[in-house]
Subunit: 169 residues, 2 copies
C-alpha cells in the first residue's frame, strides 16, 4: 500500500505524463486527483485542498474536464456542494477525443490536395490523406474492441493480458 506521500508523488507523475500528451497542466493534475482518490466523488473544495491551488484554477480545470467528457456531476445525498467523479469510459474518451483532432489534420490534407496541381506535392498529400483516412476508420473499431474484450473478461478481475512489447524500433 505504501504511504500518502508516495500516492501524491505517483499522482503528480501521472499528471506530468498527461501533460506531455497534450492535456492542460491543471486539468491533468485534477484528473490525477480523481484517479488516485478512494472517494467515490470529489468537490471543487476537495480538489483545491488536494492540489493546493486557488478555487479559480479548480473551476477552470473542472470545466475543461467536464467538457472533454472525462468527469461528470454526481448528485450526493444531503450536500450542497457539487460533486464530480470520473466517468467510466474516461480513457477511451480521451483517446477518441485526440482523434477528433486527427480529423482536422485530415481535412487540412484534403484541402491541400485541392490546392495543388499534379506533382510531387500532390503525391505526398495523397499519401498523407490516405493514412489519416485509414486511421479515422480504424480507431473507433479498436476502441470498441477493447470495450468488448473488457466486458467479456468481467470475472477474472485484477489481471488481464498484461504484456507490453520491448523497445519500439
Amino acid at each position: 500500500m505504501t504511504g500518502e506521500t508516495d500516492r501524491r508523488e505517483a499522482a503528480e507523475r501521472l499528471a506530468l505524463a498527461l501533460v506531455a500528451v497534450g492535456m492542460q497542466r491543471m486539468a491533468a493534475r485534477a484528473l490525477a486527483a480523481f484517479l488516485f482518490s478512494d472517494e467515490e466523488s470529489l468537490t471543487a473544495g476537495d480538489l483545491a485542498d488536494e492540489l493546493e491551488v486557488s478555487a479559480g484554477s479548480v473551476s477552470g480545470a473542472i470545466r475543461t474536464l467536464a467538457q472533454l467528457g472525462l468527469i461528470e456531476r454526481s448528485f450526493v445525498a444531503g450536500s450542497r456542494r457539487e460533486h464530480f467523479r470520473m466517468r467510466e469510459n474516461a480513457w477511451t474518451t480521451v483517446y477518441s477525443r485526440q482523434h477528433s483532432m486527427v480529423d482536422d489534420v485530415l481535412s487540412a490534407a484534403e484541402k491541400g490536395v485541392d490546392a495543388v496541381g499534379p506533382g510531387l506535392a500532390r503525391d505526398r498529400l495523397l499519401y498523407m490523406r490516405d493514412f489519416y483516412t485509414f486511421l479515422l476508420n480504424e480507431v473507433p473499431a479498436l476502441v470498441e474492441r477493447f470495450e468488448q474484450q473488457r466486458a467479456g473478461s468481467q470475472r477474472s478481475r485484477g489481471s488481464g493480458s498484461r504484456r507490453r512489447g520491448g523497445p519500439r524500433p
Copy 2:
C-alpha cells in the same frame, strides 16, 4: 491547380492543424513546406525564404524534424548546401512517435497501481493500465496493416479506400 496563394494558405492551415496535435509551431510550418513543395528536396535557405523566418528558426525546426525521423538529409549532385526531404514513412512515424508518449502514461499508471492499496483508486488505475496496455499492443499492428494495404494497392493510384464516417458519437 489553383494559385500560389492558395497553396501557401493550405500549407499554413495544415501547419495549424499539426500544431493542434502537439507539434511545435515552426517545425509544423517547415514540415508543411516540405509537403507542399514540388521539389524533391529543400535547403535551409529555401525554407527560410518560403516561411519568411530567420535562419536560426529554420535550423531549430530542421533539427526537430530530423530528430523525429520525419525528414532526412538528401545528398544532391553538385550542391554545397545541405538538402533535406520528407521521409517516405513520415506519417506512420509521427503516429508511432505519439504512442511512445502513451508508453510514458502507461508507466505512470503502473507506478500508481503500486503506490495505492486496494480500493477505488486502485480499481481506476487498473482500468487505465489495461486500456493503455491494449493500445500499446494494438497500434503497431494497425500501422503495419496500413503499410501492407498500401503496398498491395500500388497499381490503383490516385484513389484508395477514401471514406470517413459521419460525426463521431
